[in-house]
Amino acid sequence: MQEKSRGLALFTFLVFLFLLGPLLIISITSFEGGNILKFPPEEFSFRWYENIFKVKMFFITFKTSIFVSLAGNLLALLLGIPAAYALSRYDFRGKNVLNLIFVSPILIPGIVLGFALLRYVVVAYEFSIYTSLFIGHTIIMLPFVVRVISSSLSNFDFSIEEAAQSLGLSKVGAFFKVVLPNIKSGIIAAVMIAFLESFNNVDISVFMTGPGVSTLPIQMLTYVENYFDPTIAAISVLLMIITAIFMFMVERLMGLSYFTKR
């Protein structure tokens, strides 16, 4: 019996090696001193981290990515919080259909959504690339916002809201003074998860590039097609650090169960 558990432990170790090894290797190669990506690196240096700041497009697209993710996040919250509240607080006709509409951006293949947006929003309405990116990213963030805030609301005791109303607060007043403060951590978690989803998005952004306008992941893809130096490895390390910080914050706010629940 001991043998079998040890076998299982070894198997688990190897699978984790498969999952995390590549990320470790990319981190190590980012410190390469030479011109070519090599593992292990021949000499140690930070020169490729410096190179990130020398390639102007990385900085420009980074700013675009941040802008699109933050602005889209804000709109997704404005649209998503009332929807999540209605969906988790009340029972009404058509609830299942409305639920489905709010999760559908996850179900529709990203590349299909990106193409449809290009054809019927960018081209048809002649929106600018920025506006189109903003709309597209709001769409993909909405399901995450609605899902995280709904799960936060499902832990909220609505009798507190009713008590506040019976004590004289208006419906709207009770929402802002009682409900909203109680789901604060859920909202912060929703913002972070939606941000990562948007910031890492390729499928939609890949259809929305123009002269000098693009998001960071798309710029990284273009760069890899032309150069194979450790700059992308260096950016990857920075992105992984951001990811890790966000993950720990979501874990603090929502607990691990947020990730394991399906």
Partner: protein
């Protein structure tokens, strides 16, 4: 509370998604069935007669099926191991699983380019220890896409199954053991059947994810096209929106079919009824 008020809360979001998502999607679907002379399925007929496209569709399906099978094979035992751990070790292992899941797909695909490339880590090690003479060409093949996709979706299978396995009452396992079942017997006869719904959900996520993934095949597949990179190529490089729309509809249909089929299957196979 009046019902109108509830719908008013949902209206902005629904309106936004309708205008910018549902209408564009349905318009894309509609254009593939209508030409100057009315309703037609000619576009689709031409498509399914074209061996080049059928090759891409078949490769994509094959890659997705293999990815799903490997992910389950690797993920199931790991999920079992993780779910048996104490709370602190379990939390630690779950964080190690979630981290790659949240990491950018560009970063993850790029890391595999470093490993399986012609002068990559793997070839350096294998030629270094003299196991092979010529470097293996894995990068830019369907195998590379499968490796990248398994890496992408394995965490999803693991955390889904851990969630399901946590819900199995430990008493059930103790009961089975005290009735004479071996540890392996408990695993095969109690744990596995109870995990079927989780396995089905996990398989849907991995299959649909693999079938529609863009970044991984774009970086690791090279000239080897899959359906998503084929759609992009037609939409952007070749500017053939008619073909791109037909591919989009095929992707939606396959996705919806797989999800519905698996849902029916999950209901039938659920031992809890």
């Amino acid at each position: 509370m009046s019902k109108k008020y509830i719908y008013l809360l949902l209206l902005p979001g629904v309106l936004f998604l309708t205008i910018f998502m549902l209408v564009p999607i349905f318009m894309t679907m509609g254009t593939t069935f209508f030409r100057e002379d009315g309703f037609t399925v000619e576009g689709y007929l031409q498509f399914f007669k074209d061996p080049y496209f059928m090759g891409i569709l078949f490769t994509t399906l094959r890659v997705s099926v293999i990815t799903t099978i490997i992910s389950i094979f690797l993920g199931f035992p790991v999920a079992y191991f993780v779910s048996k751990m104490g709370p602190r070790k379990k939390a630690f292992l779950l964080l190690l699983t979630i981290f790659p899941l949240l990491t950018s797909p560009v970063v993850r695909s790029f890391s595999w380019m470093i490993i399986i490339g012609k002068n990559g880590v793997l070839n350096n090690i294998l030629t270094g220890i003299g196991l092979i003479e010529e470097p293996l060409s894995i990068l830019y093949t369907p195998t590379a896409i499968i490796i990248g996709l398994v890496h992408l979706f394995l965490p999803l299978i693991i955390i889904t199954l851990v969630g399901v396995m946590e819900n199995i009452e430990p008493d059930l396992l103790t009961a089975a053991e005290s009735l004479g079942a071996s540890k392996l017997g408990v695993f095969a006869k109690v744990v596995v059947p109870l995990c079927v719904p989780g396995l089905v959900i996990g398989s849907i996520l991995v299959f649909v994810g693999s079938f529609t993934a863009y970044t991984t095949p774009a970086l690791l597949g090279g000239k080897q096209r899959v359906i998503s990179t084929f759609l992009y190529q037609n939409a952007i490089t070749l500017n053939d929106w008619q073909v791109a729309s037909i591919v989009a509809v095929i992707m939606i249909v396959v996705t919806v079919l797989v999800i519905s089929l698996m849902n029916v299957l999950a209901k039938k196979l659920n031992p809890r009824g």
